[in-house]
């Protein structure tokens, strides 16, 4: 079932990329990034059946980094919301030339 798992991982990663490119809400874009991380985790777990348990150790690390990223990223989003009362990316154009 490893080829099927890899195909599923590719599909989920693509859906996450489409979400990042099409959504405007910063929090939803952030959740799409989490979906992409999950797709990569699926690849790690599937290949750990072939190449040993290191892949699963990597998944544990990826989850830790994802948790840290979610904490910092959501704090940034809250700070942006306080600044402009919006998390829509259309309204966040402070650095636009």
């Amino acid at each position: 079932m490893i080829p099927e798992a890899l195909a599923l991982s590719a599909v989920l990663f693509t859906i996450g990329t489409i979400g990042v490119l099409t959504r405007r809400n910063a929090i939803v874009i952030f959740m799409c990034v989490e979906l992409m991380l999950n797709a990569v985790n699926l690849t790690f777990v599937a290949l750990s059946n072939l190449y040993g348990v290191t892949g699963q150790v990597f998944v544990v690390f990826v989850m830790t980094v994802a948790a840290a990223e979610a904490a910092v990223g959501l704090a940034i989003i809250i700070a942006i919301f306080r600044h402009g009362q919006s998390v829509n990316l259309k309204n966040i154009n402070l650095l636009k030339g």
Binding site: M1, I2, E4, A5, L8, V11, L12, I15, G16, I18, G19, T22, R23, N25, I27, V28, F30, M31, C32, E34, L35, N38, N41, L42, V45, A46, S48, N49, G52, V53, T54, Q56, V57, V59, V60, F61, M63, T64, V65, A66, A67, A68, E69, A70, A71, V72, L74, A75, I76, I77, I78, A79, F81, R82, V87
Partner: protein, 181 residues
Amino acid sequence: MPTSPPLFYQVHFYLFGLLAIASALAFVTRKSPVSAALWLVSVMFNLAALYVMMGAHFVGIIQVLVYAGAIMVVFLFVVMLLNLGHPNELSDIRGKWGRLAAGGIGLALLAQVMVLARTQFMPSLQPPTNPVFGGATDRGAIGTIAEPLFNEHLLAFELTSILLLAAIVGAVAIGRRRSAQ
């Protein structure tokens, strides 16, 4: 793979895979951030089932506990803190039939737990031992992960704790109200 897995396994693999894809599609197409987050929780539960099916029991449990249980709760918390959900899409089920359906499903799940706790499984239904990690039966699902984690990857593991500490401090520092000082 040298031998094709049994049909029971294959059906469930495809079932969870298709459910994950359907939930992911629903996730990127929902307008309300709250329903998007709940569909993402569904994706994560299906992926956890796939992890367990592929022999990664510990990763599956951590997926449910950390991803679906902690990270997504933080996301939902922020969405509701900033009041971003569209109010007209967040319909609470208050009708009589909704309550009856919820109660019925709850009772069925409770009955399943009671039955499962008292059942002796047939040998054919016992969970199989993973052929790759031959020694996994004596060390359990956690020992398989813990041994490389605390031997080869010990430095990375310790660095991870520093990363988490930095993330906590950073989140508090960024999210603090400026007017408080």
